[in-house]
């Protein structure tokens, strides 16, 4: 799961729907796993959109369209709303996406992606629209995400945008460190806080 991150240059998979909730990313019946088996979650990413009720592949869903592939998922506004299930981030990572681009992410899911070394990139509505147009015009179009520069570039149009990422998280992503590594190094500060608040 932990991996070092800097420049990702890839074709994209377009999913222009808005308000994609985490129940769609991974339905509740797949939350019964007690391990973090990436293949299991990746195989069931968008399960009920990807498969028809009889279990066959849904030819109309983008993940089943061989024209589109890549490490970057480009999604409509308000991606990842609803349930806090981190299984959604595991499914996205397990499928092989390393970046999700949208104009808006739900808070909990955004944190979950970051904690699983999947980078949520927030772009403007205009940039997103152009990106969808680019991908549909040329499914082989390349998008480059540069973590150290905090930029995303639509290579076809040359248009680029900065995205937000705090310096701490950037350091974690670029060096393959997670928050638990950090918190475990802060025990003395935690105990100090507890001593100061013992009377409450």
């Amino acid at each position: 799961m932990k991996q070092k991150f800097n420049i990702i240059s890839s074709t994209c998979v377009p999913l222009p729907l808005e308000n994609v909730d985490t129940d769609q990313i991974i339905p509740a019946r797949f939350l019964k796993a007690t391990t973090r088996d990436e293949h299991f979650f990746g195989d069931n990413l968008f399960r009920d959109w990807r498969y028809l009720p009889d279990g066959s592949l849904n030819p109309d869903f983008v993940l089943n369209n061989p024209v589109y592939s890549g490490e970057i998922l480009v999604a409509g506004k308000n991606f990842g709303s609803g349930s806090s299930r981190e299984h959604a981030a595991w499914a996205i990572a397990g499928y092989g996406f390393r970046v999700v681009v949208s104009s808006f992410f739900a808070d909990i899911h955004k944190n979950n992606e970051l904690n699983n070394f999947v980078l949520p990139v927030v772009v403007s509505d205009g940039f997103l629209k152009e990106l969808f147009d680019t991908i549909y015009a040329n499914p082989k179009a390349i998008v480059e995400v540069n973590v150290s520069e905090q930029t995303i570039t639509n290579k076809s149009t040359g248009h680029s945008e900065q995205f937000e990422l705090n310096a701490y998280k950037k350091h974690c992503l670029m060096n393959g460190l997670d928050d638990i590594d950090f918190l475990l190094s802060q025990k003395d500060k935690i105990e100090e806080w507890e001593n100061n608040n013992a009377s409450k």
Binding site: P16, L17, E18, N19, D21, D23, Q24, P27, A28, R29, L31, K32, T34, T35, R36, D48, P53, G76, K77, N78, S81, G82, S83, S84, R85, E86, H87, A89, F104, F105, A106, D107, I108, N111, N112, N115, N116, N166, A167, Y168, K169, D178, D179, I180, F182, L183, L184, Q186, K187, K189, I190, W193, E194, N197, K200
Partner: protein, 459 residues
């Protein structure tokens, strides 16, 4: 600078501000259920760690458990494995544990307030988005992912970026038939499911103050459905009255000291919020949803609006509804009363008040699932169970049940369910299920008529 209620609690829990990064926040209470915790405990084992403050952590299974025959082993092997894993992890890590059939067991977000475990001024987290519920006690409570559960297990801390602040004020008197659920569905309709994303909401105003503790819990529960990080209500006499004498509430001198502190937990008069939203209580009517996210709701007497996005059309197709259509009189198949949203005693009282002396419609399957064992006991003690039984309803055993259908309580494909739960997402209550979110009053009216009905017809 004058501080908000949220600021006061947040500031009191800051361990440190990470340089150019998030805040390290101390967590008073971590709740764990069986679905979002096993991988966190595995992570702890892989790193060779023990829980840093096990006394602050309470675990209980709720998502997978059957709502009948809980004294027998769980039949479904995968659900059983997950519940067994929580049994084992709670024991191994020395955590407080309310297993299946324990007299305190139930849905975490019902149990926490009910046992006096969720108190004003606390920071509370759980691997569950509806952790926002506990904000009704005057706490900072929010849902987290499994990696974050592991952080709290390991360090009793979490790294978070401070959210922006929003105050939603609703003044006025709520009309007949309007419950806290309707207030929440109304706000979601106005705000959309992303209208409060990035914000922590404080609810204020006379209509909010007039809500019972149960109503406030329902309201805060649904904060996440507007995208909010959490929702909260300043503690007052309603809160103190509710908490007094509960199992884990402070006692004696500690109680007096706590209440004195809790009374300071309110936003200063001149505190500034990043966003202020105002609604008029008089405009709120009984509500129902017609689409596949909780923001797609309307007053029950209205018609489905027009929408032009592909997402909107996909949603109506899924539900089998048309633009401009009224839902009143539409035949439904299932009714679900329960969940962390509406599984409390007051919800059962409301439901019983409508069905009393009437009969359930023959074609309707109704699942009435209390949020906890204490709620179930109280339903019996108050004589509500008798009323419900006489009307043809059965009260089941507690759990999350059909809210997300991880146990056997699944709505079949294509069937309509009037549900008091919190989400109407595609497939949420079982693959192909069609959910109409509503209050316990609307659910009760539909249960006896078999069609979508304005509950005021029976009031």
């Amino acid at each position: 600078m004058a501080r908000t209620l949220f600021d006061k609690i947040w500031d009191a829990h800051v361990v440190q501000q990470v340089k150019e990064g998030p805040t390290q926040l101390y967590i008073d209470r971590l709740y764990c259920h069986e679905v979002t915790s096993p991988q966190a405990f595995d992570g702890m084992r892989a790193r060779g760690l023990k829980c840093f403050r096990p006394d602050r952590i309470f675990c209980m299974p709720d998502h997978n458990i059957p709502t009948h025959d809980q004294d027998k082993p769980i039949e479904e092997p995968v659900s059983k494995r997950q519940v067994d894993a929580l049994d084992k992890n709670a024991l191994e890590f020395g955590l407080n544990y309310f297993p299946i059939m324990h007299p305190k067991n139930g849905i975490i977000h019902v149990v926490g307030p009910e046992q006096g475990l969720s108190l004003p001024g606390m920071t509370i987290v759980c691997g569950d988005s509806h952790t926002s519920t506990h904000g009704a006690m005057g706490a900072v409570a929010f849902g987290i992912g499994t990696s974050e559960v592991e952080m709290v297990l390991a360090s009793q801390c979490i790294l978070q970026t401070k959210p922006k602040s929003m105050r939603i004020t609703i003044d006025g008197v709520l009309s007949k038939g309007v419950t806290a659920k309707d207030v929440a569905l109304y706000m979601m309709m106005k705000m959309t499911t992303s209208g409060a994303t990035g914000f922590f909401v404080e609810y204020a105003g006379s209509a909010i103050r007039s809500l019972s503790m149960e109503g406030r819990l329902t309201l805060c529960n649904l904060s996440i459905e507007m995208g909010a990080r959490g929702g909260m209500i300043a503690p007052d006499e309603v809160t103190f009255e509710y908490l007094k004498g509960r199992a884990y509430s402070p006692k004696g001198e500690d109680w007096d000291k706590s209440v004195a502190y809790w009374k300071t937990l309110k936003s200063e008069d001149d505190a500034v919020f990043d966003k202020e939203v105002v609604f008029d209580a008089a405009d709120i009517q009984p509500m129902i949803t017609y689409g596949t996210n909780p923001g797609m709701g309307m007053k029950i007497t209205e018609c489905i609006p027009n929408g032009d996005t592909p997402s909107f059309k996909k949603s109506l197709d899924y539900m089998g509804f048309k633009e401009g259509e009224s839902l009143l009189g539409k035949k439904i198949n299932y009714v679900f009363l329960g969940a962390c949203t509406n599984g409390r005693i007051e919800d059962f009282r409301m439901f019983a008040s409508i069905v009393k002396g009437k009969k359930k419609a023959d074609h309707v399957t109704a699942w009435l699932v209390p949020g906890s064992w204490p709620v179930k006991k109280q339903i019996e003690a108050e004589g509500l169970e008798k009323i419900l039984n006489e009307a043809g309803f059965e009260v089941r055993q507690p759990g999350c049940s059909a809210c997300l259908a991880m146990n056997d309580d699944k709505i079949p494909s294509g069937k309509y369910a009037v549900s008091t739960s919190n989400r109407n997402f595609e497939g949420r209550q079982g693959p192909g299920s069609r959910t109409l979110l509503a209050s316990p009053l609307v659910a009760a009216a539909a249960a006896i008529t078999g069609v979508i009905t304005d509950p005021r017809d029976f009031m």
